[in-house]
């Protein structure tokens, strides 16, 4: 059993930690996320090309490193720790795997090298207006012999700023099965709009599709063939997101411990009061179990190609890590008292990330119900 990081994985973790600590201070992330794009393109190129993380999960035949979710999780954990805003999740965790999973060789060759080089970004439009997985409002159908997409997508990560979109659309003449369609964001008929989001350090867009023409060769893997591929991408995304949640929770703990040492009340550091000590100890319990859950799920995803196992691992990680992050972030505000309630302090940013990541791939109730079905209950 080798359920520990390899040397390479430890190095990756060190690199990711110091990189995001360097670029991801509180002032830096606040500034970057207020840009229209929601991120800094020059840093993105550094992430994708210089550090080479654009190539992380790309197969070697495209010049990639052929690594897996464990490595994505390692990076996502550090992104979560700093809340660093970039299209990493959109491009590398969602869109790229969708193209790899569903696209043909030509489609892959067309875009993947540009992503690896940091020259192109992409995102995945996988839900309708309400942001609930499975509830897709975009429809692809043939009108006058031409394929067109109409409808709406919501909560598309960096969907207003990326170069390409992978759009999940219901296929009108395939019983509503899902087609994954690769389109330039600036295609005629596509309107993207960044919306004001509860999590100020994460940009999401609403996208309207008004009879958008689907050029030949844009459908990944064929019409109506995207259900399984999309599910795999979302499940693997859920595991990577859980890693981000663990990283966020860990940073909350660090902020809380530091404050507990420094803040004096009634003549002693508040960290010497059991009420605070035990709140922080419970954070440790949640975070470490969540970290175990994430890496267990990541290994499952990398080692076991079966879809049932992947979905169960994803639901396990999603439920446990969503709760762990949310409760830790909420308690972090509590430990900080009034200061933790201010805009100036970072506590609320983690709290909002915790709340907003909860439902990104279905909320804990959704995943529990899915797990219950897998367990043969009702």
């Amino acid at each position: 059993m080798e359920f520990v990081f390899t040397t390479e994985q430890s190095l990756l973790q060190d690199t990711a930690r110091s990189f995001f600590e360097k670029v991801g201070g509180s002032a830096q992330i606040r500034r970057a996320s207020q840009k229209e794009a929601g991120y800094l393109p020059e840093i993105w190129r550094e992430i994708a090309a210089t550090l080479g993380w654009g190539a992380l999960v790309v197969p070697e035949r495209f010049g990639g490193l052929g690594l897996g979710i464990v490595e994505l999780a390692i990076i996502e954990e550090q992104i979560g720790a700093t809340l660093y805003p970039s299209p990493f999740f959109a491009t590398i965790v969602l869109a790229l795997p969708a193209i790899l999973a569903a696209g043909d060789e030509a489609q892959q060759r067309a875009l993947i090298p540009a992503i690896v080089a940091g020259e192109r970004t992409a995102s995945l439009a996988y839900t309708g207006r309400a942001g609930v997985p499975g509830a897709i409002d975009a429809v692809i159908e043939r009108t006058d012999g031409k394929l067109q997409i109409s409808g709406e997508a919501g909560f598309v990560p960096y969907g207003h700023a990326v170069d390409w979109l992978v759009v999940a659309a219901r296929t009108a003449d395939r019983d509503g099965r899902i087609s994954l369609v690769l389109l330039p964001r600036q295609s005629p008929g596509i309107v993207t709009e960044r919306v004001a989001y509860l999590d100020p350090t994460h940009a999401v867009a609403r996208i309207g599709f008004d009879s958008v023409a689907v050029p030949d060769g844009s459908v990944l893997g064929g019409l109506g063939s995207g259900d399984a591929a999309l599910q795999r991408v979302l499940d693997r995304g859920a595991i990577a997101l859980a890693a981000e949640q663990v990283g966020g929770a860990e940073k909350c703990l660090a902020l809380s411990v530091e404050h507990a040492h420094q803040r004096i009340a009634f003549g002693r550091p508040i960290g010497s009061f059991q009420a605070i000590k035990h709140m922080l100890a419970d954070m440790v319990v949640r975070i470490e179990s969540a970290r175990s859950a994430v890496y267990f799920a990541a290994c499952m995803a990398d080692e076991e190609p079966g879809e049932a196992g992947l979905s169960e691992a994803a639901s396990m990680a999603a439920v446990h890590c969503s709760d762990a992050f949310y409760r830790t972030a909420a308690d972090t505000i509590q430990v900080h008292g009034g200061m933790g309630f201010t805009w100036e302090h970072d506590a609320h940013l983690y709290f909002k990330r915790a709340r907003c990541t909860r439902g990104m791939f279905g909320d804990p109730a959704f995943h529990c119900e899915r797990m219950a079905r897998a367990m043969g209950l009702a």
Binding site: A130, G131, V132, G154, F155, R194, V195, A196, Y197, L198, D199, P200, I264, A265, F266, G267, R268, F273, A275, I276, A330, I333, Q334, G337, G338, G340, F341, T342, W343, E344, A347, H348, F351, K352, R355, C356, G359, D363, A365
Partner: protein, 389 residues
């Protein structure tokens, strides 16, 4: 033991409800609803003047000072009807419920004549300046200093968490008037005019994106030597009494606001189909039950207060409502789903339930954190040993 209000109380309720109905028209109609017109200072001040002109600004006060000597239950009814009419907490709550009673209890006659009538008339607004960046739960640790220079007190220091200080004419400022004193000794309560160059008020942006609280910097601020409550060094006793005034009277008003929020959640659940989810339905029912229990507890507290008794039900009020309200916020978010995470336009201005969710994080912090509240119950009610110092 019985529930229900007396006929006289119900008549009072009818009078007040009718008055609000008539008064909240025209410009004042904007005071109903989630923002309570807080962006419009002139409107808020004008509302307080209208209350004063109608003799309803300070109903609990003696008639001699512009009040109508209302009973406890009448005050509660007033608060409840105010909330039912859609109003938020009073803009001049601090003056009416805290400063006034402090001056009645500890002030000199000249202070009563000078300060009480303008409050009753809704013409002077007050801020409470107790907390400091280094003294939140632990007020005795505060550092703001005042020293006598000629006929004046000169004040240096920083206060925080003062609500609506930016509209206040006067501040009730707890500060250290005995150099070198520590803990609760050597503190005094000063009455300080806020409109002077040596007082700087900086709004604190909170996680909701709004600013309800302020930092106040006293940088050589001045007030006349006679603007002190009692003698120098009496501040701790007076401040503790101030914090003790009003307990409970506003609770039914608060609960009427909670009721409105809960109705918003229920309506949303019915509208978006989440009410069909049995797990959500259980939580909605628990929220309803929790609010009914809260009301039962408050009624018991008020009934006891009327008999000059304070039972244990009074001391649990803060812990209970803060917990309930925070859970309501989480329930609201789960009912609304991701749509609650979106604001209209690019301003960070969210729908009422999202704002409530965010704001409710403060419920377990302000007015004594959950941790402080539990210590108070353990030590004062159960007689357990104090924390070692």
């Amino acid at each position: 033991m019985k529930l229900g209000f007396t006929a006289a109380e119900e008549a009072f309720r009818g009078e007040i409800a009718g008055w609000f109905e008539r008064a909240l028209t025209g410009d004042f109609a904007r005071l109903r609803g989630p923002t309570f017109g807080r962006d419009d200072i002139a409107l808020m001040k004008s509302w307080e003047r209208h209350l004063g002109d109608c003799g309803l600004g300070t109903i609990a006060w003696p008639r001699a000072y512009g009040g109508r000597a209302a009973t406890l239950i009448e005050r509660v009814i007033f608060a409840e009807e105010e909330a039912r009419a859609g109003l938020g907490p009073r803009p001049n709550h601090i003056a009416v419920e805290l400063v006034g009673p402090t001056i009645f209890a500890f002030g000199r006659d000249d202070q009563k004549s000078r300060f009480l009538p303008p409050i009753a008339a809704g013409r002077e607004f007050w801020a409470q300046c107790f907390s400091e960046p280094g003294a939140g739960s632990d007020l005795a640790n505060l550092r703001t200093k005042a020293q006598r220079e000629g006929g004046k007190w000169v004040i240096e220091g920083q206060k925080i968490w003062s609500s609506l200080a930016h509209i206040a004419d006067w501040g009730l400022v707890l500060c250290r008037t005995e150099a070198g004193s520590v803990g609760s000794r050597g503190l005094s309560l000063l009455l300080v005019p806020m409109a002077q160059p040596h007082v700087t008020i900086r709004p604190i942006r909170q996680m909701t994106g709004e600013s309800e609280f302020n930092e106040i910097f006293f940088d050589g601020a001045r007030t006349a030597a006679h603007n002190i409550i009692g003698e120098p060094g009496d501040g701790w006793k007076a401040a503790m009494a101030t914090l003790g005034f009003e307990r409970g009277v506003s609770t039914l008003g608060t609960q009427a606001r909670y009721r409105r929020e809960l109705e918003l959640v229920l309506t949303a659940a019915r509208d978006n189909g989440k009410a069909a989810d049995p797990a959500i339905r259980q939580r909605l029912a628990r929220a309803e039950i929790g609010l009914r229990v809260m009301r039962a507890n408050s009624l018991r507290m008020l009934a006891n207060m009327e008999c000059q008794r304070e039972g244990r039900e009074a001391v649990i009020n803060k812990l209970y409502y803060a917990t309930w309200h925070q859970e309501l916020g989480e329930l609201a978010m789960d009912v609304l789903g991701r749509m609650a995470e979106l604001a209209e336009g690019m301003d960070y201005a969210f729908p009422p339930l999202t704002r409530m969710f965010l704001f409710s994080r403060a419920d377990t912090i302000y007015a004594g954190t959950h941790q402080i509240q539990r210590n108070i119950i353990a030590e004062r009610v159960l007689g357990l040993p104090r924390d070692p110092r």
